[in-house]
Subunit: 338 residues, 4 copies
């Protein structure tokens, strides 16, 4: 931590800050420049927790030099992590395709889609049983009934499964039926839910919040990991910007940035990022090219009648075609879908 | 709802869309322009729920013309609402000051602050018992112990009280002790929590999400109101933008915009909006000038040692001075603090 | 400047950076923390211009501690500046209202508006002769003819005048006719134009760019001042965010932030900030409450037929009513319009 | 254009709007819904130029249904355009690599880089002679001397050349020496410059403004094309968002969006988009995967001493390696670099 003093800070105030640091058991290194004095703070920063150094006299501002997330930080865990989900895994050795409908609508719908995406190469079936919808008057999901269909689909096809959870009760239900739970963008800072997911130990896909910085995202992962659950996979799904041509703006740079800052696997969701079917395939290819560990794509047997997010869903033949294209991209990156 | 066809849409496709509308029990009005044909859809839009008109052939895009929120919409409730909280009220007839510490730290701290802000003119005591913190390693709040201190402070001073809730269990606890619950920015789209707050019937302060549009915010209010709870007050607390000179960017325009779109009361939180103590007073004055129904301000007896958000907290004398200034602003707007 | 080394930087690399600093004639202060080593750089930073310290081995990142703008920086010029424009001035001793049409459309239109705004209390007449329009097919302004009308309006009413300039030739024309030139949001980083405005010595209103940070804005002012022109007034006019309920988002916090960082006067343009007439008055009041030195408001004798920005223009009676309200706000702030 | 009336609009006001439309020579189609009445306007919208329909009584808002850009619009020019630059071309038949230093620093520097990038596969040499820098105290470029070096480099290597222009005088100089001019992000709405570039007829690379929407970008292209210059290539270079891990946020979705809205070629600049060398290669691969017609990459023989943007520049061996990788990506997309 570095303390930057005001330009005309008196030497008394500089000394006062120095003593404050030392009285709290840390060391202060002064560096007196032509315009300003800066003070490097060395030692265990936890000793300063609850102290507001900004409010000491003549302090201009504080510059943190280390990240607040530790368990998710690549600096302390240089090797990339692998997360096992059902009988597949997500990480550096392969590429993962998660596919399925935005919302589970019926047993028949789900089974039709599950069989098709399995055939095309997906290894994880996605499907929403609890839907966070902007309006309370939109379809909210089949809840536990939907989870049961996921279980059946998994048993028949061998696909691993993932469902979003939005509360304690949906989490408790989901871990009985599916292999991985998802914390959605709107709940990325629902810290209570993060802690409960952490305590469950269940593999979790943590979507980036709509306006979350990468640091906040890794701190959200830290909430889960600090409860003893290392099985976290990150998912970039677009951030909110001023541009309205797409529903969100896919921050594709987040893939290499996360690579350099964290050891956790990262996948990309081009469907929610754009909200437009025609843009899903080019962005799915980008995900692979940028170095992601996989993608999550909405697919539907009849998008025109999908109860949620139809306009961004691929048809089953479109998904099959995409999976074939991605295979060639994966090979260029020295990876294989599995 | 208006359907805009592609420029060279065939007349077969236009007819197909028209029949689709009519087969669903609505009426379609065609308007054939020089470049494009548009189709006005008249009737109950719920009949089209789960249909994705965007995917019909030659449809370019859909333009909604009515808002999805109804209960919070001023169009259907022209008079501004009043929300009663303890023995005070929030609404057009007065101006409300909510003040208190970011986090409740001890009984003594809270009582000291409560007595002081009461004396300066606040009518509602704020204080955090459950703190949503970006890092899991930061202070997370006194929880139920903190709520008990709020109850005591209320009994001694007569102030109404408000605490943030972050989960089902904190909500259940809070409604036993405090007069109003707060749903914070990070939980604005935690729909499960919104519904539970709705079912509780308790007065609620709904903060705007960090990157929420005004429409999404009113839809979040709709979740609460749709469960039968009309006692919703909105709170603008800054939105996320590219500017880093302040923690967030106070969207002061949101005050007149909400006024025109909704009948719900709206207050402003200048403390979280800026994160800097020196900017709190000018922005508090702006809130009144813009027409807000009140403000929420962080105040602390010893900000340098506050366990949360010290740098943005006013000292008790600073708060007293601010309250005096605001009084003059309130009078200009024909209002009084109470 | 502070250099933050990577966590496991070798001591050779730390020494290499230290020597690099010293070989360039500066001093390096090492501060070795538990996780990382930081190096404070003391001396004249210009000696490092054109060196990219980020690329030295094991350097993690660089933290600047001083601002790159000097002439506009309050640290080196603590007293607020006053800028004279015609026979009025902008600064801490008064409050300035600039009013007039978005675009000058005819002599008669301009004279009608000039007389009315003068009577209501404006001291500077605004009017666009060169309009930067998003589409090339929109009305682009009367150019020099418009400037002549401004001159006439000034002679008859005694109002000072301001026009936007968008190029070398429009600048050359404008300084012959009007008292102050405006550099618009779209040209805030048109550095060539800034330099020419600087060399002209003419008073200038520098609008904030649509997505400019406050630091970039003050650096743009620096371009003008570095050419010897200290007569710079800043104008906050809304920034681009994800919210679409208003045309831009008025960053009202920019007023106190600029106050603390710069000595230059700052005014607010609520018309362009919102794009909606009904929101202009509340935001104009906010500007005064936040501590601005004045406002710029679009007014028109017949907004329904304005060739540019009609929907956000006040009618002349609306402007008169606003000016009366603002007078009371000004008094609260210990200022007077003049 | 669609006019949406207020919910309780009187039938008199609806008729008034209808007559206003008809009196201006257009046709109005009424569609009376349960909540609101909408009015479709058919005919030449130019007849309504300068009328502000928003201000007619009981009008709620206006929904445009057609884009204001015509010449750059794919709807009226379905085939993708090809732009010739020197002896190469940019468009659907090939993939173009533009490479070179951010700023031209000396003849020797430029020649060294030119020879190397030519050998690696670049076809266009970039180099800044006029640099728009945030601070007036940063290096501003060699100006005409730099342009002469570009000409020499072109003559020796056969590379086509591109330089940024920032004013009338730099444009006049540039067209004498280089094959393509660049309008940078900061000047995307410097409409005077756009018009002059249009009149020059010279091939132009139009970078997206830092906070420009795609519609504004295509309108900027329209300014150039409306002056008779069809040789416009677009360049996505990152937009401004709240995320600070990268200098800007590359909006990779802009590539497929531009493809669907415009016939103009589009390339991507991963160097400015991220500001970090390590992220350039993954994003360059994304550009190809997303369907761009090429990339522009900053390369330098000695980035540690580059006078501008060193930290994001590739070394010559890094560039060579990148070009080889991109070749494989290009083949997957059925394209070749040339």
């Amino acid at each position: 931590m570095i303390i930057v003093m005001k330009p005309h800070a008196s030497s008394e105030h500089v000394q006062e800050v120095k003593h404050f640091i030392e009285n709290n058991g840390l060391t202060a290194h002064l560096s007196q420049g032509e315009e300003v004095t800066i003070i490097g703070v060395v030692g265990d920063k936890k000793k300063l927790s609850g102290k507001n150094l900004e409010l000491l006299p003549d302090v201009d501002h504080i510059v943190p030099v280390t990240e607040s997330y530790k368990l998710s930080n690549r600096k302390f865990h240089p090797e990339p992590s692998i997360v096992k989900v059902g009988n597949t895994e997500i990480g550096p050795n392969n590429l993962t395709i998660m596919a399925g409908p935005c919302a589970i609508e019926s047993e028949e719908q789900l089974m039709t889609i599950a069989r098709a995406v399995k055939k095309s190469g997906a290894t994880i079936l996605r499907g929403g049983a609890y839907k966070p919808r902007t309006s309370p008057y939109s379809f909210q999901g089949l809840e536990e009934e939907g989870l049961r269909y996921m279980k059946e689909a998994s048993e028949e096809t061998g696909l691993a499964t993932i469902c979003e959870v939005i509360s304690t009760s949906s989490l408790e239900a989901a871990i009985k039926y599916v292999d991985m739970v998802q914390v959605g963008a709107r709940n990325m800072q629902n810290f209570q839910l993060l802690r409960e997911v952490g305590r469950s130990g269940h593999p979790v896909l943590l979507k980036r919040g709509m306006a979350a910085t990468i640091d906040e995202w890794l701190n959200a992962a830290e909430y889960i990991m600090a409860e003893g659950n290392p099985n976290v996979v990150l998912c970039e799904r677009g951030i909110r910007t001023y541009e309205t041509a797409t529903r969100n703006t896919l921050d594709i740079s987040a893939v290499p940035v996360i690579r350099s800052k964290s050891h956790l696997p990262i996948i990309v969701d081009p469907s929610h990022a754009t909200g437009v079917r025609a843009y899903v395939a080019p962005l799915a290819k980008c995900a692979i090219a940028a170095g992601a560990d996989g993608i999550m794509v909405e697919t539907h047997n009849n998008p025109a009648c999908a109860l949620s997010d139809g306009p961004q869903s691929l048809t089953l033949p479109q998904f099959d075609e995409l999976a074939k294209m991605l295979d060639a991209y994966a090979k260029l990156e020295g990876r294989e879908f599995s």
